[in-house]
């Protein structure tokens, strides 16, 4: 990808593939979206894929915190022999 700039069409295609894959993950679960994942990895440059995956993981974690909250470690655990 160092030869030229990512064109507008390429960028849009990459974003569409990414959105499709993540939507599939949200509705059907990660295991059922392998072909969309392949398409996503092909359409986007490797560095972008890495960036998007990291961002997606962070977004999911944030969502989990907002909806489920977080559990502090129980006191009994630390006191157990």
């Amino acid at each position: 990808m160092s030869e030229g700039v990512v064109s507008k069409e390429q960028r849009k295609a990459c974003w569409a593939a990414r959105d499709e894959y993540y939507h599939c993950c949200a509705t059907k679960g990660k295991e059922a979206c392998d072909d969309l994942k392949k398409k996503f990895y092909e359409q986007c440059p490797t560095a972008w894929v890495r960036h998007f995956e990291r961002r997606h993981m962070y977004d999911q974690y944030r969502q989990k915190l907002l909806t489920q909250g977080y559990k502090l470690k129980e006191k009994e655990d630390s006191e157990s022999p």
């Binding site: 990808m1 160092s2 700039v5 990512v6 507008k8 974003w15 440059p45 560095a47 960036h51 998007f52």
Partner: protein, 297 residues
């Protein structure tokens, strides 16, 4: 004859009482008091003070007035209230109340509008401007030298990014294009210039920058430069950007601050807009600045 006798007896009796009164008290006082033929003592004509007389006169004047109002019968039609059935509310008072209420609402609306205008003036006229900006020298898309002076005379928006940016820079540049179109629509063509400055001089050659800015707006200016030139302008605008790990990787990402800087035609920094500001909000703010900007003395 009987009557004459009674009269004579009464007169004798009164004289006798007079004598008795005279023997006990002062004779002169008894004479002054005097006794009527009826036997009832005459009213004492006292020497009243001026104030007391005035008070008595006022009392007499008030009393006839009170008697007058009480005697006048009130016409039933004039004081009927509760819209015809008798009570405190009449048609007239209702209309008056509505008119007063409407007037109060109108007054408050206009006062609120005035306060809003004042607040807008106060917020756009920043008391202390941060010392952002200053002279810089870069390279434009044709490979020629470009300085800050090339952009004087027109409002301009600066954005720092890089062409290999996966999501943030395209979104911000699309937002910038929206803002520019909206402002040009309101203020006329060429009212504001969008400028993209690369923080990745290793990969962003003038050709690459030219191809990149063309994706967003035909008016968008693209600038790049040497490491030192980019370092200099980023220092002047307090732009944070990370230098990539020199491992030879070609597809690294540059971490950088995401801000659009609004510059006045005389080159002074006026305002900045972050990622959370929408195109409409930024457009409105820029139009306000354009209307109220005064160059620093």
């Amino acid at each position: 004859m009987m009557a004459m006798m009674m009269g004579g007896m009464r007169a004798a009796l009164s004289r006798a009482v007079c004598v008795v009164g005279g023997s006990s008290g002062s004779g002169a006082a008894a004479v002054a008091r005097g006794f009527h033929n009826s036997g009832r003592p005459a009213p004492v004509r006292r020497q009243l003070s001026r104030a007391t007389r005035r008070f008595q006169q006022e009392q007499q004047q008030q009393r006839p007035k009170q008697q007058q109002t009480k005697s006048e019968p009130t016409p039933p039609s004039k004081t009927r209230g509760s819209l015809g059935r008798g009570g405190p509310i009449s048609w007239k008072s209702l209309v008056a109340m509505l008119a007063l209420g409407g007037g109060a609402v109108y007054y408050f609306q206009s006062a609120r509008q005035q306060a809003e205008q004042e607040r807008l003036k106060r917020t756009t006229k920043a008391a202390g401007r941060p010392a952002l900006g200053g002279p810089y020298e870069l390279v434009d898309t044709k490979g020629n030298k470009a300085t800050n002076e090339d952009f004087l005379g027109k409002w301009h928006l600066l954005y720092f990014g890089f062409t290999f940016c996966p999501d943030v820079c395209p979104e911000e540049l699309e937002k910038m294009a929206e803002i520019v179109d909206a402002i040009d629509k309101k203020k006329g063509k060429d009212s504001i210039t969008p400028i993209f400055i690369s923080v990745d001089p290793d990969r962003d050659t003038p050709d690459k920058v030219a191809a990149y800015v063309k994706q967003f707006h035909p008016k968008m200016v693209g600038l790049t430069g040497t490491h030192d030139q980019i370092k200099h302008i980023c220092k002047q605008f307090r732009v944070y950007y990370s230098r990539p790990n020199p491992d030879g990787e070609e597809d690294y990402l540059v971490d950088h601050s995401i801000i659009q800087y609004l510059m006045a035609p005389d080159g002074t920094f006026v305002a900045y807009y972050g990622q959370n500001t929408t195109a409409e909000q930024a457009t409105k703010s820029i139009l306000d600045h354009m209307d109220t900007y005064t160059p620093p003395s």
